[in-house]
Amino acid sequence: MDFFEHQDRARRSTSMLIVYFAFAVLMVVLSVYAALLGIVVFASKDSERPIQFLAWHPQLFFGVSIVVTGLIALGSFYKIWSLGDHGENVALALGGVKIPANTRNLDERILLNVVEEMALASGTPVPPVYLMEGEQGINAFAAGTSPQNAVIGITRGALSTLKREELQGVIAHEFSHILNGDMRLNLRLMGLLNGILLIALIGYWVLRILGEVGFRSSRSNNNEKGALGLVAAFALVGGALVAIGYIGVFFANWIKAAVSRQREFLADASAVQFTRNPNGIGNALKRIGGWAQHSRLKAAHAAEASHMFFGEGVVSNLFATHPALPVRIRRIDPKFSGEFPVTKNVVHSESELIDPRSLSLARSSFAGVHQAAVAGADRHEQQPQEAVSNIGEPRPQHLVHAQHLVDELDQLLAEDVRDPLGAVAIIYAMLLAPAKDPVRAKQLVLLCKASNSLVNSEMNRVSAKVDRLAIEQRLPVACLALPALSQLSPSQANAFRNNVRNLIEADSKWTVFEFAIQRFITKRLVRRLTDSKTDDAPASGSQLQGFQTVLSTLAYLGSEASFVESAFSAGAAKVPKLSRGLVILPRDQCTLKTLDQALNGLEFARNADKRDMLTAFSACIAADGKVEVSELELLRVISDALGCPMPPVV
């Protein structure tokens, strides 16, 4: 099963969830109706016109359904709206505090390195990490609706008991949730649950208000019989609502648990596949079993978010959102005896900053891969297609590649790329034209006028280091700057955006690298900071036109003039369904700017179509038998724009 199928399946689970949920709402409506009916009949028993007991009172039923569904919908929508798309809100509600990207605490630094490696390896933006300081249980979560706005949370307990490879296993598990589209489902679940809980809450409020009123009236000795009857009726209604609300919550929890458990197995399996290291996640699970606090959470909102966590956050057998620990461990390590060794706090050492496995592996394989890239065109012929099949399913070699990069960076730019000012300076320095180009002078004048003198002085300092980076290292390093950049204040971020635009437009044409920076940095940053897509140019034309534009542009960019048309038709031939009668656009309609607009329209295509389009694009690139790094980078940018994170080219 590949990325696209996982996404589709997650979406199908969401629609199944709606069906279950509708059933739960119906149950709640019927129970409220029955309870009210009973109360009304009971209350009118002694009056002059007793109401007959009839099972069917359309008016009552109608009223009850409107009010109850209205309330549940209100509660759900409110919760979903207030959580927004952004995982940050969940992290904050659970008491998380963002770890500064430039932290110098060793435990936190190791964790952030692990997260950076995973993000680079899977081609997703580096997510911000939130630490739940007060939680001593071993646990972690991922929240958000897409890789673009995902956050990762982790407890202090996990950080102080897990070794590097175990942390890596846990983080890989969370990345699998991010890549498999589980997070949107999780957020929706939280919202729906809240809607049903609202019924119980209203009942509780009614009881409380009655308690106050009853207390006052009994003191003022004003015990009219009618009033007492009314109070009794309200008390019954309140009590019934509490009971029904909790019955509803019972069903909702049951649904939540059922949906959640399956996804946990999948995430565990993906973590093993991703890191090719069953010990990492296996031992992390064993440590939970051998730790006094297990994976338990104390936060007030932990229960409603329990399905998002790595381990069981709230003790409950009926509503376990996660399969039992021994079952999970045996799926990874069949020889597991069921005995948990006692977990102790670990003291991390400096050597854990980098993965020991990557050192030996990377030094040999990394160099090897690059030699092959230079020497063998035959290897490249296969690569674009491989890249498409790797979407959402990073392989161990991607992880090794990313680790190697982070490791190399540690010696050169690490302090700067993780600090807001340093990150801004690095991005500016990357966008400067080469030393003797007249454009560079123009760019420097622009910067002097527009930006803070602090930034300029830092940029002068880092530009020598940036110049030492290899071409293929630049984009990944820029991607590592994102967490630091998302800590800019709104006015700093605005200035950054304007300056980046000015630097890029200084020579009035876009290079592939500049295009990638616009997409990978500016756009992601805007989405992080504002939660909106306002920066996107409006999509032009239909999806089919978008596809045509992208394919034509790729053909022009990637091939020599004589080969352009055959590259286009090689791509089009892969997807006859989409490209019937499609012809290549004239050259002047195929710039990186039109590509940008076209991509904005393709983001919402169906998953199956996205896969077809990406297959066509990769075939178009490979058609002339020559694949350059910039072409593959462009393919990654396009894939990312379609919402399909593609691992880096190794």
Binding site: L92, N102, G422, S453, S457, S489
Partner: protein, 203 residues
């Protein structure tokens, strides 16, 4: 029948409006919490670089010691100023935005900047020290760290201002008093040389 219907509909509408109003208040409250978190986060950013600087200064002094034998007092003054700035920094990190903590940090930082300026000025008189590679490297790193502190400080002050504005303006002020959102204080330090220049250019 019609009057009962009217009463019921009236109650429902009133209830609906009440619920929406409650949600509105809650969303204001949540917004204030987010803004507060944002400025606290902003301080964490400053704190990291401040600590880095407090680590660098003793190294610098240690390197200079061998050359500047007759400036013992100045060196000691630097270390003393560094120590009091560090403890002020710790208190500020525990309580970002608190008026006294911010004021203390500001004062301590100004004192530290003063003693550092004196120290660097004196060091100019020692050509061998000026040429010492270690000294140059630490000084460069110190400047860069100071720049980073200043930049993060600008970000922090932006965040504090946004939070304070939200607390003071309607409708935030209704919720702010109720939910004990007290106004936060800006961090006013001028320590980095670049920043002083920047101020000159602007005015």
């Amino acid at each position: 029948m019609t009057t009962t219907m009217f009463i019921i509909i009236g109650l429902l509408v009133a209830g609906g409006i009440l619920v929406i109003f409650l949600f509105y208040l809650v969303s204001i409250y949540n917004n204030l919490v987010t803004l507060r978190n944002r400025y606290k986060n902003g301080f964490a950013q400053i704190d990291v670089q401040l600590k880095r600087r407090y680590d660098l200064i003793p190294n610098l002094v240690e390197t200079a010691k061998g050359y500047m034998k007759h400036e013992k007092e100045t060196l000691e003054a630097v270390i003393k100023a560094r120590n009091s700035a560090m403890s002020a920094g710790q208190q500020a990190a525990a309580n970002p935005g608190d008026p006294t903590a911010m004021q203390n940090l500001s004062t301590a930082e100004v004192a530290l900047a003063g003693s550092m300026t004196k120290f660097i000025g004196l060091a100019e008189a020692y050509p061998e020290l000026k040429a010492n590679e270690n000294m140059l490297a630490i000084q460069e790193e110190l400047t860069s760290t100071e720049n980073k502190v200043s930049y993060s400080r600008q970000g922090f002050n932006d965040a504090v201002t946004a939070y304070n504005t939200a607390c003071e303006e309607f409708p935030g002020n209704l919720v702010a008093g109720f939910g004990r959102f007290t106004p936060a204080t800006l961090l006013e330090v001028i320590s980095a040389p670049q920043e002083r220049e920047a101020v000159k250019v602007q005015f």
